[in-house]
């Protein structure tokens, strides 16, 4: 990590020893302030110890005692952030430090810690290793974008090739086929030359009998035929073995990827775009197949062909051979350069292309709005403009490659012309002169020359092909290397029959490492109790339920279920005992029956219908043309929000959870449906521990207690009447506002 930080962002990987040695006290936490007051990049370190805040550069050290700080103020603007340590609002601040967003997470820890310390609260950071916390904070965004830091390309290649090992046999056959096909394809040209020099010429010179010449020629022809047949047999062997082998490797990778994906935790999926994950399983593995099936061998063949061709040419005639082979490296270099140039052009083309597809993905789902505002013409214009630019760009690309390849071929032809030019005087020289060139040798030579261009092309494009395959491999390995942040195989993994006691002890959590979404939250819930969670949106209510179900792990504090630490429980069996009904439930592609019984191994159909009845879903399901067999989900029958909601309630009824979470289950539906859902929920909550989030307070009338959640902590808790009794209470205020709204509508 230490060296990675240096390598990647050119910043110290840990507090320099030079500064560390000058600090006497134990270091709790530190961070780098990378801007000076003039907004120039600089390096000064902010260090928190037991009594002091220290701001140190290589030259000097400034200490501020913590007890003199009254407030830490954070000021954020576009790219710079400041922490201002204030003693008293009427005098100049004790210290002000500036930094870029790069240091924001680490500085967030400092600000939080100092705030806690000056308020005299206990701090959980003290258990952490200050180096690790700093390094994790600074590298986090890069690690998120590139889960496994780019290793050497050669390492990726070796790792990819390791996937071939189980198929050693096929690989050997395939490679052998490729090798033999290459060698055999060199023979026909030689045989042709031989025919001219040893049969046709001697016959024309009258040195050979016609009958003898003809029989020799038949033999040569037979040899030619067998060469071609053999070559194609070997070719068949290679293509077949390698493409099947490649398919197996791709299959192995996909299997491994998908099962690994299922193990990864929610935070992975919320950080990566769905499209990017899908493309790794689909198109990246496909590219790898392409590389293994064709790339590896193709390049191998090209190299073998080129080397053996050069060797053959030089042995046939070293002068002409050199003329032919010497320009090859130059051509290869040109092709490589051209590839790089094309890469940049493609980059630009691709960028313009995404602009075109953006218009599509923008307007087609939003077509109703476009039509409603009568903007068809404008959208058409917008699309055409971008379509025009992308065409210009692609035509640029075409202009570039269409110029290049003929030019390359021309230079190839030029070398051939040079060969002719050098060969002509020698062909017509005396046959006993030392430089004489026989017609047969020259014909073989010319035939070999025609075989030259393909391998050159392939080798020239090798760099790009290899790059593409390796980056695909890298993207695949990146997922395989991501460790699930919630690893259920570690820890004690106790199977627990949940009773339903829940308690949170000073729980802190943040999604991004900066902002505490749950801040030191503590509460106890007894089994069977129903708790209503209310408060402004964004307060952290849903997050609370995600922590309880361990979709995310908490940063500090403890969550206890029936007195046992959540982290010690076996995740799968615990989740089975928790039911969730969310605001916008997701239905998988499948029948309604499948959707209700999702996650159960064997289900009694009668129970499913029973559950649907309890969920008030039975009626509307029967009104669908195919009843419980109606296919829903993407491309299937579309259900309304309220209908999907009741299906998810039926799902929860069926699993009979001990702990039930209702997250705004009734907020997206009309009053009539709401009543039905509410009625279903009322039946569902009996005898379970329930956490119900709602913004209509009336839906919480059955709740035993209400928690008012605001900015990550619980502002008020108590029964409905206790909270109403509080003067200036938030709950009371909410209640009054909703009542006023309702009354306004009643009229």
């Amino acid at each position: 990590m230490n060296t990675l930080i240096k390598e990647y962002i050119h910043q110290e990987g840990r507090l320099p020893d030079m500064i560390r040695n000058r600090i006497k006290e134990n270091i709790y936490l530190y961070a780098l302030a990378d801007l000076d007051s003039e907004k120039k990049f600089s390096e000064s370190w902010v260090i928190v110890t037991e009594r002091c805040l220290i701001i140190a550069t290589k030259e000097n050290i400034k200490e501020v005692t913590l007890c003199s700080i009254e407030e830490v103020k954070e000021v954020h603007s576009l790219s710079t952030h400041s922490l201002i340590f204030i003693k008293n609002h009427d005098c100049y601040p004790l210290a002000e430090i500036n930094f870029t967003s790069r240091q924001k997470i680490a500085m967030g820890h400092i600000s939080y810690l100092v705030n806690q310390m000056i308020k005299g609260r206990s701090i959980d950071y003290l258990e952490c290793n200050s180096d690790e916390l700093y390094q994790e904070s600074v590298m986090r965004p890069i690690l998120e974008a590139q889960n496994s830091i780019a290793k050497k390309q050669s390492a990726t290649l070796v790792r990819l090739l390791k996937y071939l090992l189980p198929y050693k046999k096929s690989l050997i056959w395939g490679a052998l086929g490729a090798f033999l096909a290459t060698i055999v394809s060199l023979a026909p040209a030689y045989i042709s030359g031989l025919m001219i020099d040893k049969m046709i010429r001697p016959f024309q010179d009258g040195k050979l009998e016609a009958s003898e010449a003809i029989s020799l020629a038949w033999i040569a022809l037979a040899a030619l035929i067998s060469c071609y047949v053999l070559r194609e047999v070997f070719m068949w062997l290679r293509l077949r073995k390698m493409s099947i082998l490649g398919e197996y490797v791709a299959m192995d990778l996909r299997k491994e990827l998908y099962s690994h994906l299922q193990r990864l935790s929610m935070d992975f999926f919320s950080k990566k775009q769905t499209g990017s994950i899908i493309s790794r399983v689909s198109s990246d593995t496909d590219r790898i197949w392409d590389f293994i099936a064709f790339g590896v061998v193709e390049v191998g063949i090209a190299i073998i062909t080129l080397i053996s061709l050069s060797a053959v040419l030089i042995t046939l005639d070293w002068r002409l051979g050199l003329v032919m082979t010497l320009p090859v490296p130059i051509m290869l270099f040109c092709i490589y350069r051209h590839g790089e140039h094309m890469k940049n052009l493609f980059l630009r083309g691709w960028r313009k292309w995404t602009e075109v597809t953006n218009v599509l993905s923008d307007t087609i789902p939003g077509i109703q709005v476009v039509k409603a505002f009568n903007q068809e013409e404008r959208e058409k214009k917008r699309f055409n403009e971008r379509n025009d630019t992308v065409t210009v760009e692609f035509n640029n690309i075409h202009r570039s490659w269409t110029k290049f390849w003929p030019a390359l071929m021309l230079s190839m032809h030029l070398t051939i012309i040079t060969v002719w030019w050098l060969a002509i005087p020698r062909l017509f020289s005396e046959s006993n002169s030392p430089t004489h060139l026989s017609a047969g040798v020259f014909v073989s030579f010319l035939l070999y020359v025609t075989m030259f261009s393909t391998p050159i092309e392939i080798i020239g494009q090798m760099a790009r092909m290899l790059n593409r395959a390796l980056s695909s491999a890298h993207r695949v390995f990146e997922i395989l290397d991501t460790n699930p942040s919630i690893d259920s195989s570690k820890g004690k993994s106790i199977e627990l029959n949940v009773k339903g006691d829940i308690s949170f002890k000073r729980v802190c959590f943040s999604y991004d490492g900066v902002r505490k979404v749950v801040d030191q939250m503590s509460f106890d819930i007894k089994a069977g109790e129903m708790i209503g969670l209310v408060g402004a949106s964004g307060g952290g209510k849903s997050t609370l339920t995600k922590l309880l179900t361990r979709f995310y792990d908490i940063d500090s504090g403890e969550i206890l279920i029936d007195g046992m630490n959540l982290k010690d429980l076996k995740l799968g069996s615990f989740r089975k005992q928790v039911g969730m009904v969310l605001q916008d439930p997701y239905l998988f592609h499948g029948s309604i029956f499948d959707n209700i019984s999702y996650g159960m191994d064997e289900v009694d159909r009668r129970k499913v219908v029973e559950a649907a009845k309890i969920a008030n879903a039975h009626e509307f399901i029967l009104r669908l043309p195919h009843g419980y067999d109606t296919v829903v989900g993407e491309k299937g029958h579309t259900l309304s929000g309220g209908e999907r909601q009741r299906i998810s309630i039926a799902r929860a009824v069926l699993t009979d959870p001990k702990i039930l979470i209702l997250d705004e289950a009734t907020s997206a539906v009309d009053t009539e449906t709401e009543r039905k859902i509410q009625d279903a929920l009322d039946k569902l909550v009996e005898g379970r521990t329930v956490l119900a989030i709602a913004h209509r307070l009336s839906t919480l009338r059955k709740a035993d207690r209400i928690f008012v959640v605001e900015k990550g902590s619980i502002k008020e808790k108590g029964t409905h009447s206790e909270l109403l009794a509080k003067e200036n209470g938030t709950y009371r205020k909410l209640q009054r506002m909703q009542k006023e709204m309702d009354e306004a509508f009643v009229v």
Binding site: D90, P93, K104, Q146
Partner: protein
């Protein structure tokens, strides 16, 4: 609407304050259009977001106030200004920029699908993985080979 009286001051701890109903209130400024109209449509509000003043154009303030607020905005709207480009490379999933900026040399990373975005006045802005903004000058202000490096990304 124009204002005839000075409304702003900085207190001793450097906090901007607004005179409102006989009282000095700690104030923050948010620009409605930080990229397209950075000196117009300013909202003056407290930490909670309660708006005390909305100004359509900074020139509506008194000369002194408008100077003070302009300077203040200059200070808080700092972006890192690129003055030269050493190289731009692609890594797996990341694009790496090695640049010289008005604040010093810097290496930063963006996602592959993020491009510098053209803002009014011919400049480009790109946000890196950490959220820092980098301002890239018009192409004509760069050296020839730097223009070439960049042209694939912005033209």
């Amino acid at each position: 609407m124009t204002y005839s009286e000075n409304l702003f001051k900085f207190n001793n701890s450097g906090q901007l304050q607004l005179f409102h109903k006989e009282e000095w209130i700690n104030i923050r400024i948010t620009r409605c259009f930080p990229w397209t109209k950075p000196r117009e449509f300013l909202s003056f509000h407290d930490e909670e977001g309660l708006e005390y003043l909305f100004v359509g154009d900074i020139s509506e303030l008194t000369a002194r106030d408008s100077k003070m607020i302009t300077e203040y905005l200059d200070r808080i709207e700092f972006t890192i200004k690129v003055v030269g480009i050493n190289s731009i490379d692609e890594d797996v999933e990341l694009r790496r920029y090695d640049v010289r900026t008005a604040s010093g040399d810097r290496v930063f990373y963006t996602n592959l699908e993020d491009w510098p975005e053209k803002k009014g006045n011919g400049k480009f802005v790109i946000q890196d993985l950490y959220g820092d903004f980098y301002e890239i000058p018009e192409l004509s202000r760069l050296e020839r080979n730097e223009r070439k490096i960049l042209s694939y990304l912005v033209e």
